[in-house]
Symmetry: C2
Subunit: 463 residues, 2 copies
């Protein structure tokens, strides 16, 4: 018993792969001001593709930053309205020398597509579009009303989005958000996401002198910006990774026995995982398991550091400036603005008096998110994922951040379920990012089933 | 009573300044492999200038690294032989944006010459050459036998020089080394150098994973190379700057009351100095004065640090690699190879077990040096400096390193006195390096007097 859209998707596998590769070739790096035109070009490419798929209204909407692509087809009154969310921007590709093939020249090897954005998330952007096109190919109407909202700033923390959503509540009104940024795991170990961590970040600048100094001439007399910075950073975590900033853990929900059981139920192969990322051993609070730390405990990481001489050979300088970027992943019920202020206070408290310290909040603060576990949208998602997998999915909390989930909840009153082609450990934010073609094709089908199931689900008016 | 050479120097002030500016335009940055040709060009320029000044033999000698320029005029048997030492390489000029005028386009402003190498030490290279030319202009022979040895690797720690000197003992044999790398202070507060600190350095590389990781996907599970590095570096010094590496101070000569008195006798204006380098306060071991720490105590400084994302905006990465360069200034009787091994042992001892640490010694290890305080060469220098200053010089120990002094002592049995145009605090190794024209002209005269005085000094056979 093959659904009519099933045949359509099979016929178009080659076409859809070629379109995916074309989309990947656009270097839409949102953090790099020089690539702003490419981010917009990626949005325009998506808009054209949405129009071609049968959307009634497609628009590029300005945000003050990178634009939003909006589309809709609202032809089934009385049926739920689903808002698909995605992003068409990508992380920077550096360090370039570690890529086997160039990040913006997608390469298909061993059933995988390698490129920056392959996993996060240009493939997943296309799947709900292909699904709508396939459903419409049967001649019938879509089973639900659909809206699409794709942004171009997710990888820089969606700075324009809170205001954009608040200012477009009517346009975006919906019964459920369908987030395509994420995945449902491999076919033999499916999983649906029920939570995400939040985020806050800071940049620290330490200044110790008016100029770089000669370590002979001034050595023994002058403070050193790098020494002061490493002192501040080392004070933030103990040797096993516990965060020492006072109050950092105050609002963290203690893990219940049920939480621990659900986290432990998620398939995880410690040795294979360690090998895959090349670490000697797991690292972090020893009173929690690695999986608990990854999804239900907050973290603090230095993402970058620089100061003084980085060239070849020796330069006997006492550097006047040193810099670091840090970000924290947050869990319920931490709030980014509260954690940020505690971090700033701590930094100034431990900073040596001999230097000046300037702390700047980074964009992209986001609340942590947990989906109510009895939500009918979640049950519909689980049905769709089961249909394209070898067994029913487990429920997992994710370690990453999708800032918009908290914003959709606050502004639109809508909960968010997640469906996409990413299967994790695919080099997102790192060299040699890839996505598996099997998932790219399989999840197109899951989207069709999900739209059909939601058409029969009493969601209207929950919002 | 004006010496005949005095008139000659006065007549040539403009010529000599123009030649100095021409020499400064050669970007002879020895640490940058791309500038190797410029380093050689600077050496060739000097060789031509030595020939023009009347040297009988001038040669460019290969070392395996940057070349050495050798010259000699040995026409007064029975008189002392003086070996002039200098270097024609310079420090890198970055950060370029902090220069008021470009580093290799010398600018004369307010009686100063601004350029990379102005103070350290292209001006001082020329002064003994000009002095010989002026002395010969009278028609008489030079009062001493002179040899010149200028190297092109001082700013990278003179890696080729120990072997070069050991292999050219006969060529370089002398009764006294006259080091032009340094200065004798301003006219109203002259000072002669009687000691230098030694040097050793290391580069540290920390590796925590096989690839950069997503701080959402792997956060809470994986070690972070930057956190490990800042832990290692912060463990090296306490909060007031004492070095915590076991055994670091074991061989340091305790300061006697006389040492302290001599150091305190050197003119020093704490507030003006702090303002000139833009520091809030002095920093370092509180049981010593800033001047004691600068010349008679060893130091450990991080010269550069880098790892992870350094671009604009946010990148939520757990970096797999982090790097730092550190150097130590050493004092009698510390030995660089001993201190280096203690540092390496300490680094591996404090490094978290979750990461791999690789430590590489940097080139340029050098012994500390102290001149015997009754040496006739020192007395001759003091006479020459007194003649061009408003009062007799004080004796000072320098905080910097001139690796060759220890090598000359070991290989040639010759002690070293120092005379040059640098007056300190002139931005050596930093942006906006400069030298004062007053010293450039005044010290030409000091060289003439020193050569004349050494001609009457019983130095022969001391070596």
């Amino acid at each position: 018993m093959t659904a009519p859209w099933e045949a359509y998707l099979s016929e178009h596998e080659t076409d859809y792969l070629e379109q995916f590769l074309e989309f990947l070739r656009i270097p839409s790096v949102s953090t790099d001001p020089a690539q702003a035109g490419e981010v917009r070009r990626a949005g325009e490419w998506l808009a054209a593709r949405l129009r071609q798929a049968g959307m009634d209204r497609v628009e590029i909407l300005e945000t003050g930053g990178h634009p939003v692509v909006y589309a809709e087809r609202l032809r089934v009154p009385g049926k739920p309205t689903v808002l698909v969310y995605g992003h068409f921007d990508v992380q920077p590709a550096d360090p370039l020398e570690l890529w086997t093939s160039p990040p913006f020249e997608p390469a298909v090897r061993d059933g995988r597509v390698y490129a920056r954005g392959a996993s996060d998330m240009k493939g997943s952007d296309l799947l709900p579009i292909f699904a709508c096109e396939a459903l419409l190919s049967t001649g019938a109407e879509l089973p639900v009303n659909v809206k699409f909202m794709y942004e171009g700033e997710e990888e820089i923390g969606s700075p324009s989005l809170p205001r954009f959503i608040a200012e477009h509540k009517d346009l975006l009104a919906c019964d459920l958000v369908l987030c395509a940024d994420g995945g449902v795991g491999p076919k033999d170990a499916p999983a649906v996401n029920v939570g995400r961590r939040g985020l806050c970040g800071l940049e620290i600048q330490v200044t110790s002198a008016g100029t770089d100094l000669h370590s002979g001439g001034a050595g023994g007399m002058a403070p050193n910006a790098i020494h002061a910075l490493v002192h501040i950073l080392d004070a933030m975590r103990d040797e096993v990774g516990r965060i020492l900033v006072p109050g950092f853990y105050d609002e963290v929900r203690p893990l219940t026995e049920q939480d621990k059981a659900e986290i432990a139920a998620v398939p995880f192969h410690p040795d294979a995982y360690k090998r895959s990322i090349g670490i000697k051993d797991f690292f972090g609070e020893p009173e929690f398991t690695p999986q608990e730390r990854n999804v239900a405990r907050p973290t603090l990481e230095v993402n970058g550091i620089w100061g003084g001489y980085q060239g070849a050979g020796v330069k006997t300088v006492i550097p006047r400036e040193a810099h670091a970027k840090i970000t924290c992943r947050l869990v319920p019920d931490q709030r980014p603005e509260v954690i940020r202020e505690r971090l700033i206070q701590f930094i100034h408290q431990v900073a040596p008096g001999s230097v000046e310290v300037r702390v700047t909040p980074l964009p992209g603060e986001a609340d942590p998110y947990l989906l109510p576990l009895d939500h009918p949208g979640l049950l519909a998602l689980e049905k769709a994922v089961t249909a394209v997998s070898e067994r029913p999915p487990v429920r997992v909390r994710g370690g990453g951040t999708v800032p918009v989930t908290g914003i959709f909840q606050r502004e639109l009153g809508a909960e968010t379920v997640t469906l996409g082609a990413s299967a994790g450990q695919e080099g997102a934010h790192a060299p040699n990012e890839f996505v598996r073609l099997e998932n790219f094709y399989r999840i197109q089908r899951a989207f069709c089933i999900l739209f059909e199931t939601l058409g029969e689900t009493p969601l209207c008016g929950r919002a």
